[in-house]
Symmetry: C2
């Protein structure tokens, strides 16, 4: 497998990874209109989320109903989500329906109607989603953790601000989409059953005349960090911890991700074994590293009974201290095999490949084939991983911690 990447003259990056033997095609389309570019708080935070709902409600010649019917008639399975940097459109369809699906998706991104009649229902849905967050405390605690740990405006929840959502008008969101949904900085990756020679002319036809200049959001200042507690009469105490991690382009990033798996990413990981299996302190515990373009984070989540919350938190902190001394050969070999297996599995999913390629193009400006990623992995040894742990997961690293809890009581005092 090889990846073909082309940058159109208008700044849109397109990438193809044909995978032999597949009958379906997946695409991952990132448009630089993410939450970090929203107005602050009551000035309109939540706009990008509102837009991600509005653009699927009719475009070009089709009203809302006709548009979703057209996509369903193609058997095009799609979703639209938002993160700090992008509105992300993902879709999977039979290869024979790729061009027809692309026409509709181009309509949606370039010519959304954003009719006035849809604003109020979409606003109500967005407010409802915002108000419903306490009904999912595990999700809520991760959002509150990100709020603490990332600098504003890259720490937004994606659910918007109540007053901000209330303030938005059709004229305003229309103008915003026109200004922010631009070719420059957009990335469209297509993987699976796709012929670049056939798809490229279609993409030129659909997106060639697209224009616009992407203005990236900037940080307002340092993160707040520290400790946050949200009191909720939930059954469990949900606790989450964040620590700095390398960016994806940092030479340490792969080694750090291997370390994170050993710490809390698999059934035989340190946290799972010590906190869940051996001591039965909590049903769910785990760690994962996200290595972004501008910042990285290692997050740990645990849900325990309120009574065991302090012990659980203490047990996690003890494991972090112990982790600084490094991992052993068996742990390293195991984590490496796990990475390899997951890479092969992801190579059998067109959607996984399309979204990884889009993410790589944004984070490191290039896309890596599975063969390249495997070669990168092979370059890592136990010694190199332990060196990364020593340098980047020390006491100074632990001091970068932010902590959020959701539950009947805070656990901070007892830690």
């Amino acid at each position: 497998m090889s990846i073909l990447i082309e940058k159109l003259s208008n700044g849109l990056t397109v990438a193809f990874e044909p995978i032999s033997g597949m009958a379906t095609t997946s695409l991952s389309f990132a448009i630089p209109a993410g939450t970090a570019g929203d107005p602050e708080g009551s000035a309109g935070e939540g706009e990008s989320t509102l837009l991600s709902e509005l653009i699927v409600r009719g475009s070009g010649a089709r009203d809302s109903r006709a548009f979703s019917e057209a996509l369903d008639t193609l058997g095009c399975d799609r979703s639209t989500t938002v993160n700090a940097n992008h509105v992300l459109v993902s879709a999977t369809m039979l290869a024979s329906r790729l061009n027809a699906s692309l026409e509709l998706i181009a309509d949606m991104v370039l010519r959304p109607r954003i009719d006035a009649e849809h604003l109020e229902p979409v606003r109500q849905l967005s407010l409802q989603a915002l108000h419903a967050l306490p009904d999912d405390p595990q999700h809520l605690v991760m959002l509150r953790l990100a709020k603490l740990h990332f600098p504003s405006p890259f720490n937004r929840t994606g659910y918007g601000d109540e007053a901000g959502l209330q303030s938005l008008t059709t004229e305003h969101v229309r103008a915003t989409w026109k200004r922010r949904a631009v070719a420059q900085g957009s990335i469209l990756s297509i993987a699976g059953a796709v012929s670049p020679e056939n798809a490229m002319p279609k993409l030129q036809e659909l997106f060639g005349a697209w224009g616009g200049t992407n203005v990236e959001a900037k940080t307002f200042g340092p993160r707040s960090g520290g400790v946050d507690h949200y009191t909720l009469a939930s059954s469990q105490t949900h606790m989450a911890f964040a620590f700095d991690a390398p960016t994806e382009s940092d030479p340490d990033s792969f080694g750090f991700r291997i370390a994170a798996v050993i710490l809390g990413g698999e059934a035989s990981s340190r946290l799972f074994t010590e906190v869940r299996e051996k001591r039965g302190l909590c049903y769910s515990v785990g760690a994962s590293a996200a290595t972004g373009r501008d910042r990285g984070v290692l997050q740990i989540y645990a849900g325990s009974t309120p009574q065991r919350a302090a012990t659980t938190s203490k047990c996690i902190m003890d494991e972090l201290v112990r982790f600084e001394s490094g991992v052993n050969q068996i742990e390293f070999d195991r984590a490496k095999i796990g990475f390899k297996s997951r890479m092969v599995m992801s190579g059998e999913s067109a959607m996984a490949r399309a979204s990884t390629i889009t993410s790589d193009l944004f984070r490191v400006g290039k896309a890596r084939t599975l063969a390249e990623l495997t070669a990168m992995l092979e370059g890592w040894t136990l010694e190199r991983v332990n060196d990364v742990i020593k340098r980047r997961m020390s006491a100074a690293w632990r001091a970068t911690m932010s902590q959020a809890t959701v539950g009947p009581n805070a656990v901070a005092d007892e830690v």
Copy 2:
């Protein structure tokens, strides 16, 4: 693709579906030790769930830690879940690790240690999961709905009974596993990169001497049905409705499933369009049909604000009444294309195929290739689907409704 099915002399059914071009292998292993066979309530309900956690904690020569390390060293990604009829073991690994993974899984099923030292931590985790249910009200409402709508003991939540979990001893659960984890009635399907000629001797070696007789659970009596409300200070009112549906072997089952997609299974479905898009009543709404071996169910879920709950419920009921008049050609064609696309997509996932084959073997006693399923789908016309709707989704059908709500107030009175 074709499916090879063999029934061993001890009653274990094994099935293979090799998929060309894949490098990974997935397996779905159903053991007839599901929740319906647990003792009732305080007598030990929750035993099968406890067992599904205990069997992964050491088997044969390996203690708990050595066992999970061995699987992680193979890069074997696995999970163990429980439903009414089975404990289900699912796993995906590189094809070269299939035999070694099967050895470990055979150890786990045939020779689990179930050491006394693990009972208490596992019991605590199970109790915690039970107590944590109100932290996920959307999940809770579906469990409470099933409780109403299915006859006992096929209506169990899978989280067990508090007193039942407390009552279980190591001796008891060990004896139960020995009695219930038997070859007869077990089904093991392997899909993806697999050679039946190579795998079959291994399966004979590992499972040939397995024995035992499967005693199926029987219903205690009719379902309770009716209306249930669980008061919770949640942000949303979570409402769920259940109606009877055909079993999978019923000639109407495929047509009923097509109808369910049109009712509430896709973005242009009736419920999504009317309740969510047009009226903005609730963020999530949808319907899905499950066609089992002994009973089928159509379930509808919606989450709305408490203020809009009665209107949402009313709107759903109105759509059900309207649905009885049938669907149109465009809706039918669209649903059919959606089915076709999803079938092709599932054919590209070894895990999806392995679990469908296991499920089919249990539900209808045979496995169907994608080509056979596609041919079945092609046999359906608008007229036939509308005939199924007329006969099986009428006022009499709506009267089979059970209704569960979780939230600050019941909505039943206002419906």
